[in-house]
Amino acid sequence: MHAEAIESIRFTMISPDTIKRMSIAKLIVPDTYNEDGYPIDGGLVDQRLGVIDPGLKCKTCGGRVKTCPGHFGHLELVRPVIHPEYAKTIYLLLQSTCQQCHRLLLTDTQVGDMKSAIKVFVGKEDEAEGATIDLTSLAAANTTRDKEILIKKLKSVKKCPYCQAAQRKLKLERPTSFYIEGSRMKADEIRDWLARVPDNDLKLIGIDPVATRPEWFVLTTLLVPPVNVRPSITLESGERSEDDLTHKLVDIMRINQRLEQDIDAGAPQIIIDDLWELLQYHVTSYFNNETPGVPVARHRSTRPLKTLAQRLKGKEGRLRYYLSGKRVNFSARTVVSADANISINEVGVPTRLAENLTVPVYVTLWNIEEAKKLLQRTEYPVIINVITKEGLRKRVTEVTREELLKGIEPGQVLERQLIDGDIALFNRQPTLHRMSIMAHKVRVLPGKTLRINASATTPYNADFDGDEMNLHVPQSLEAQAEARYLMQPKDQLLSPRHGGPIMFAEEDEIIGAFFLTKDDAYFNKDDATEMLAGVGVYELPKPEKNGVYSGKAIFSMILPEGFNFEGKTLDGAEVSIKDGKLLKGIVDERLVGNGGGTLLLKIFEDIGSDAAVDFLSRLTKMTLIVSVKKGITISVKDYYMPDNVEKERVAIVKDVEAKAGALIEKYKQKKLDPLPGYTRRETLEIIVMAQLEEARHMAQKLLSKSIDLDNRAYLMAKLKARGTILNLVMTSVFLGQQSIRGKRPSRGYNRRVLPYFRRGDPNPSAKGFIKSSFSDGLSPTEFYMHAMGARDSSMTKSLVTAVSGYLQRRLINAMQDFYADKNGAVKDASGALIQTIYGGDGIDPIRERVMKDKAKS
């Protein structure tokens, strides 16, 4: 293929002459087919405009459906019509030229002044000569006082400097009506005016008169696109249905024809003007059916017509849908589900997909024998296509296999079905950060879903409630290598946001780890064997005296050899690992979960990514086995509180009620000092709100005091495996204060939230304090308060995600071409300096600790 660099692109207005030259036929009949269903000559589907019916030949080029590109036609408008998209330009031209002599309303000296002003701005003399005189570039010029005077003058020219004619007031009424001193200007007058503006004056205001004459902004001929652009559809009933564009063109031609007849018949001016206006309307909506100020043209079914602008505009328009929208081969998409038995570095691919996705095998002198063997195969992994040296893709079938086998030679490429160990990119939208696309190793599995390890869901933000994900198979060796060395989950274990792990143990695994490593955890030989064999360890640790195995010892089996670690659990207890043995402490969320994953991090940094991934994969599997063995369940029982809780609850409620009452009393006696920047009223609300929210904290403390870790719901919350203590408080103690926009509910009826309260009721429950818990059930007023709070938070949530998502998108777009150069300075694609050192400190969060360690040693 021949390629050349494009030097420049110029967009110009199309001239009536060009239209006539492009046109193959002048269209005169405002209709499509005659009674026999045959295209009318000179109609809108004239056979010279191209063919869309199979079997027919084009009357212009003789081509068939696939070879005829279609040909433009044209129609002549009896009266000129304003091009609606250029109305603003026309208005500008009318304003800046004389109404009498049509010259630019500038004296030669003014032009000279401006050119010299621009010269100062541009800095180069020759550029200034060719520069156009517009107020924006002038405003940028730097001749302060003179400039201001000049601009003022230009904005209020009342008299033509050439013919001294007084300039009257012009008005543009959108979209296409022009008025001069209150009286309507017709399109032909405007056209004549524009036609008389001299070429040299146009150059000054930035219009190249050779490419674009301003009178072309007023249409006299209309280009009619070929039928290929507006194909008609034949319905099942045999009825033909025309494209929206054809419909619109029929409208235009119909009015055009009537206008012509009426003019010939000498109809009164009013009638002609009305038709003219109608013609203008049809042309306007032909270009853009969403032109403001113009009624939308509709189909008989009241559906708005899709005209030219609508075809290009918006998400489903030509630009965004077809030009920027890219579709790829070698990809797949289905529902994802979890598989605890594959590593986070792997992705489970259903056989159906693996059979259809291919990887190229490049035939060389050295692998030709293997290639032959592959090509001979007739069962799963088979070769689907052979790409010859000429680049032809030949399908391998029973029939062609022998021949292709004979013709195999270095330089050919075989397309092999996907097998275990191949590399594939896995992605979930929205692709918000780099971990949203990672390279997994393929594991072909039975079933119909793509599968990932639950720990790998965090970076993708995926869950298994129906999420779908995309799989892409890199084809070139470079792409495969890049994916393998940079994009595997093991390489992405640490988040560039905070430098900690983003893949870790979750939920059941956290609980399992707790039961595995707590001090009194002992397992018999059977259980220990099962747990270890499950993660591929076929040795047992040293048993205790009574023949049982301690959980810590079992856990130590999956730790890397010679590994040392000192850390703290969630509640600050010490954890100590020496020489690959867990000596002290419990492995919990802080060590292997979302709370920092300090243990994971240490393995990653001390030993490497493979060890970290291996540890994580084994840990999750082993802890799941423990979880299953242990049988962790929650039930209603866990939410049934001991008697003292009920007593304490009443006490807490009474306490906050009293405190709130006291505050209100204090306020009423004007003894409440306002907080800085707030009124006394606001101060009261703030303090009362804080006081009532305190109730929840008191309830949490109460819970922690009253129940122990035998309560599984509490255990889960405590371990940060699932749920929070607040959840427990809300189900078992009370809901507490509801809030709307961060304040207590306050509006509704006159000085009260609901009509069931007295005006100015000081009781907290009148303003959304809920004394009941979910297990008690809510009173009707409480229920209403809760619903208000729930509505508020659900609205805020959806609004905040939309706003912050868009904000992030804008930031990404603005910063996407920034890079850190070899000195650590941040530059953009043009080389402009953004930061002298990345982030102001040159720190990459992922490597921060490693850097510090190096600095120490």
Partner: protein
């Protein structure tokens, strides 16, 4: 003229040779540096002229670093 203020970092006008060296250090021409108007109060205070470079020493919790601005005409 603006009074000194603890929220305004230190601005320093670089000499021609200093500016040249800085540009060389970052491997870019002067006009690829971030810009500051000569009408900016801080530029005025230094009596900076278009074409000169101003060094700004900023401080944040992670440390001190220098930023540059190329003076342009308002």
């Amino acid at each position: 003229m603006v009074a000194p203020h603890n929220l305004i970092p230190e601005h320093k006008l670089l000499s021609e040779s200093e500016a040249k060296n800085t540009a060389k250090k970052y491997g870019i021409p002067l006009d690829k540096f971030p810009k500051i108007l000569d009408a900016d109060p801080q530029a005025k205070k230094l009596n900076a002229k278009p074409g000169q470079l101003i060094a700004i020493t900023r401080e944040d919790p992670t440390g001190k670093y220098t930023y540059y601005r190329y003076v342009v005409m308002a």
